[in-house]
């Protein structure tokens, strides 16, 4: 399965299992979504459960909030990460607050799926990685898978969660990675990172499409005699600080790799974890290998912006040699 198949499979399993689940958004029904993630689901489950909404992101999230208050479990799609902003008020003012505001009486079991990230030669607004914006909002959880199997297991957990989840899908690897994924139902817990490779010299933290980019750099790093512990964060918030801290205490070095703009990002939080939890173990300054604090360039300039395996190699060996 690729990631598109895996997400489709997770939705299929949950739709079959729970009649309270509805799936909707722009072009989600008949067309199966612009990325075909929901393909075939409307035919299988009917147009009252998998459907196209009018084109308005604020109302897509806003109606999901109402549906959740009335006992449904909506899974909505934002077509591209750059189109979420009209829904920002609903996300920050209501989705994340309703449980607290109602003193726990009205939960928000809502999943907002957001294809995100660059590297696909897209138009403006289609390529950003704004996960830090969401991670800072109290009341939300932010999940990002890096493999087809993780996408399936994490999405099933997200749909089953009683808390609102922003499920950000690295669209660059929607179809780029294929792996064996069980057709059976399985789930992967939210809030737990995955140690992809164990190592002793440096902890490298990544998520989404960047896990694969780090993996591409691994053979050369090995050749250079650098032992990398690669951690796939899986969940941005709540962050698995324990796994991070343990690893940093072991390696004494931390390199964070992400497509997000450098400043005030998830990387800043990772460095805070290194300082707070492993201060006396650090042998080199923590390093962020992240995008510029600029707008994502259009396709002809995007290669300047995207993080390459070469750059990852370069920064990691610099940190190790510090």
């Amino acid at each position: 399965m690729n990631m598109v198949n895996a997400i489709n499979n997770a939705l299929d399993i949950k739709l079959a299992e729970d009649p309270d689940i509805v799936v909707y958004g722009e072009d989600v029904g008949v067309e199966g979504g612009v990325f075909r993630v929901t393909e075939g689901l409307q035919v299988k489950y009917g147009a009252d459960r998998v459907f196209d909404s009018p084109l308005a992101e604020s109302a897509i999230v806003g109606t999901a909030i109402g549906m959740a208050a009335a006992g449904l479990r909506p899974v909505v799609e934002m077509q591209f990460c750059g189109f979420v902003y009209p829904a920002f008020n609903q996300i920050i003012s209501h989705l994340s607050r309703m449980r607290n505001r109602s003193r726990g009486r009205i939960g928000m079991p809502v999943v907002v799926r957001i294809p995100y990230g660059g590297g696909i030669n897209a138009l403006e607004h289609h390529s950003e990685s704004m996960e830090a914006l969401y991670a800072q909002i109290p009341g939300l959880k932010v999940v990002i898978p890096s493999t087809p199997a993780d996408a399936k297991g994490l999405l099933i957990s997200a749909i089953e969660s009683e808390d609102p989840i922003l499920f950000m899908e690295p669209k660059r690897i929607y179809r780029a990675i294929k792996q064996e994924v069980s057709e059976e139902k399985f789930s992967i817990p939210i809030g737990k990172a995955r140690v992809v490779t164990t190592g002793t010299d440096v902890t490298v933290v990544a998520y989404g499409a960047m896990v694969r980019e780090v993996q591409k750099a691994l053979p050369k790093l090995k050749e250079a005699g650098i032992s990398v512990e690669l951690i796939d964060l899986r969940t941005i918030y709540p962050m698995d600080k324990e796994t991070l801290a343990q690893s940093i205490r072991k390696t004494g070095r931390i390199v964070f790799v992400a497509e997000e703009p450098t400043s005030f990002g998830v990387g800043s939080e990772i460095i805070a974890v290194a300082n707070e939890e492993a201060f006396l173990y650090l042998q080199a300054p923590p390093k962020r290998v992240t995008a510029f604090d600029t707008i994502v360039p259009l396709p002809k300039g995007e290669h300047h912006y995207m993080i390459s395996p070469e750059k990852i190699f370069y920064e990691i060996q610099k940190t190790v040699k510090f």
Partner: protein, 362 residues
């Protein structure tokens, strides 16, 4: 009636004139005399509570409060038609409707004293909390409507917004979604002529709000929101229309915010005494009262006695609310998530350690 007073006809639906005399009895609401008197008393209770809440604020006993003064007929009529299983999606200025939906006055006092629990309506069901960002609650109403339709129930959603809220994108999106999905939502726009300081004529170039229904493909009606009988009949028909599965309705209830926007606002800055006085005659309680007196259903002595009784009851409830226990630290954290992240737990524990240190060092 919804057809006869269809928004395109540009006629405001009224039953009573400004003095409570019947203009036309063609569309009288279905309500018996004793219920009518009770509705009046409920409105009187809400108005008394409203006035007293403003004075509690002036005494520094609650925080900011948005008065309902002048808009009670809209809430009183809603109270008559809303069922226990119907949904109320409030803005923040419809106290009579809250009380009818099962909120207690103590809940509302607690909320404006600064306790979230008041806004959680622990004694009511199918009632969303008060929403501060204007009109952002309306998409929720459309979503609840979808859930009702999906589950094949016959519940109706009553969603409130003010005239200012109709300029927000969420107003448009919610009405559009509700109409496309054909879901049972009554959108009640309380056109009280002002959005804080901005007069209605500067809010929209449209000839009223009800006419906007045409563009969404739903029935719309402009009704005299200070005419209890017309308001009640409108809501009765709208409810019937929604329950029968015909989709949403837009009601523009024309009224006047006699008080300030909130207790922090000073209307003398942006409107004249003359204007306020011109609306005084149209006061909804005055009109219904005149009508009831004309029908010999109201006794002035009774009313005085009742008002005194309300005042002492309201004050008793307020004093009870004032004895709410102190806000515990854990309440800041415990409702944030169904499954609380470790970070939050840690932040609470660390703050507790500080508090212990502070305690032992004081």
């Amino acid at each position: 009636m919804l057809k006869e007073f269809d928004a395109t006809k540009k006629k405001m639906f009224r039953i009573m004139d400004d003095d409570g005399r019947i203009i036309s009895d063609k569309h009288m609401p279905v309500i018996d005399d004793s219920q009518l008197v009770k509705a009046y008393h409920d409105m009187l209770f809400a108005r008394t509570a409203d006035h007293m809440t403003v004075s509690y604020q002036r005494q520094g006993r609650i925080f900011t409060y948005p008065p309902n003064y002048g808009q009670e007929a809209i809430h009183g009529a809603t109270a008559q038609v809303i069922r226990t299983d119907d949904w109320l999606v409030p803005a923040f200025r419809e106290m009579g409707a809250w009380l009818a939906k099962g909120a207690t006055l103590k809940d509302t006092f607690l909320y404006f004293m600064g306790y979230e629990v008041g806004n959680s309506w622990p004694n009511a069901n199918h009632f969303l909390p008060i929403t501060v960002p204007i009109a952002s609650q309306l998409p929720h109403a459309a979503g609840i409507g979808y859930a009702i339709k999906y589950k094949k129930l016959d519940e109706v959603v009553f969603a409130f917004v003010g005239d200012g809220g109709t300029s927000e994108g969420d107003f448009h999106e919610a009405l559009n979604f509700a109409a496309v999905w054909k879901v049972p939502v009554i959108f009640v726009v309380q056109n009280n002529q002002f959005a804080i300081s901005l007069p209605f004529r500067m809010q929209t170039a449209s000839d009223g709000i009800a006419i906007k229904s045409l563009a969404y493909g739903m029935p719309g009606i402009q009704v005299d929101g200070n005419d209890f009988l017309a308001m009640l009949r409108t809501l009765q028909e709208a409810t019937e229309f929604c329950r029968a599965g015909n989709g949403p309705v837009l009601i523009e209830a024309v009224t006047y915010r006699k008080g300030a926007h909130t207790t922090s606002d000073d209307p003398t800055k942006y409107r004249s005494k003359e204007e306020e006085e011109s609306w005084e005659r149209k006061d909804p309680l005055r009109r219904l009262r005149n009508y009831l007196v004309g029908k010999d259903l109201l006794d002035e002595e009774d009313e005085k006695r009742l008002e005194d009784q309300y005042r002492s009851e309201i004050d008793r409830i307020f004093v009870e609310a004032e004895s709410q226990p102190a806000y515990p630290l854990e309440d800041v954290f415990k409702y944030m998530y169904a499954e609380m992240p470790d970070d939050l737990r840690k932040q609470q524990v660390e703050h507790e350690k500080f508090l212990q240190w502070k305690e032992s060092n004081s």
